[in-house]
C-alpha cells in the first residue's frame, strides 16, 4: 500500500517547486493512469505481443496461433481471453473454429512507436 510520505524536507527549498502546481493541474487523473497502465500491461508480455502481431496481418483461428507460435492451446486461449476482455481483439465462430482479429486501430501505431524506440537505441 502506498502511504503519504511525511519525511519530506526538500519542499520549501526546491527551486522547481513553483512549477509543480502547473504540473499537478495538467496531470492526468488517477483513474486514467490506471486504465493506461492496464493497456500497457497487455502489451507487456511477449506471448501476447506475438499473438497481437500475428493478428496485425490477418484473422486467425486459435490453432493457427498455436502452431505459428509453437504454444500450448491453453496458453493461447488464456491470453486471448485477456485480449478479448479488454476489447483489443474480436472473434467470430465458423463451425468448430473461432477466428480472432484485432479490434483497435491504435494497436499497430502503439507498437510501431515502441519499435522506433528500440531501433533508435542501437
Amino acid at each position: 500500500m502506498e502511504e503519504i510520505n511525511d519525511n519530506l524536507i526538500c519542499g520549501e527549498k526546491c527551486p522547481h517547486l513553483n512549477k509543480i502546481n502547473e504540473v499537478k493541474m495538467n496531470e492526468i487523473k488517477r483513474k486514467e493512469f490506471q486504465e493506461l497502465s492496464d493497456i500497457f500491461k497487455l502489451f507487456a508480455d511477449e506471448t501476447r505481443l506475438r499473438i497481437i502481431c500475428c493478428l496485425l496481418n490477418e484473422e486467425l483461428c486459435v490453432c493457427d496461433l498455436c502452431e505459428l507460435l509453437e504454444l500450448n492451446q491453453s496458453t493461447v486461449s488464456h491470453q486471448l481471453q485477456l485480449l478479448r476482455n479488454s476489447k483489443l481483439v474480436k472473434y467470430r465462430r465458423e463451425g468448430k473454429q473461432i477466428f480472432y482479429s484485432l479490434d483497435d486501430e491504435h494497436i499497430e501505431k502503439i507498437i510501431q512507436m515502441a519499435l522506433s524506440h528500440i531501433k533508435e537505441e542501437k
Copy 2:
C-alpha cells in the same frame, strides 16, 4: 516453460493455413519481441507511468516527485532506477539533489496513442 504443442490437428484443414507462412516471414524476430515487451513493461505500472507523465512537462528532482505523487522516497528511487537502466530517463546532480528528465522522444507519442485508445472506448 513453453513446449511445442503436438496435439494440433487443425493444421492441414485450416483454410487460412496457406497464409501462415507469409505471416511467419513478416514476423518480428523473437528477440525483438522480448525487447518490445520489456519496454511496455515499463509503462505497465501506474506509479512509473505517473512519474513519466510528470517528467513530460519538466525536469524534476526526486523529492519533487515524492511530494507531487505522494509516494515514498524509496519507491520513487526504485522506479527511477528502472527507468534509468532502460535509458528512458536521464539525470543530473545539482548539489544534493538529482534532477530527472525524459531521455526519449518517442515516450510521449506512445502514451498519446494509448490514451487515444482509452478515449475511443468510451
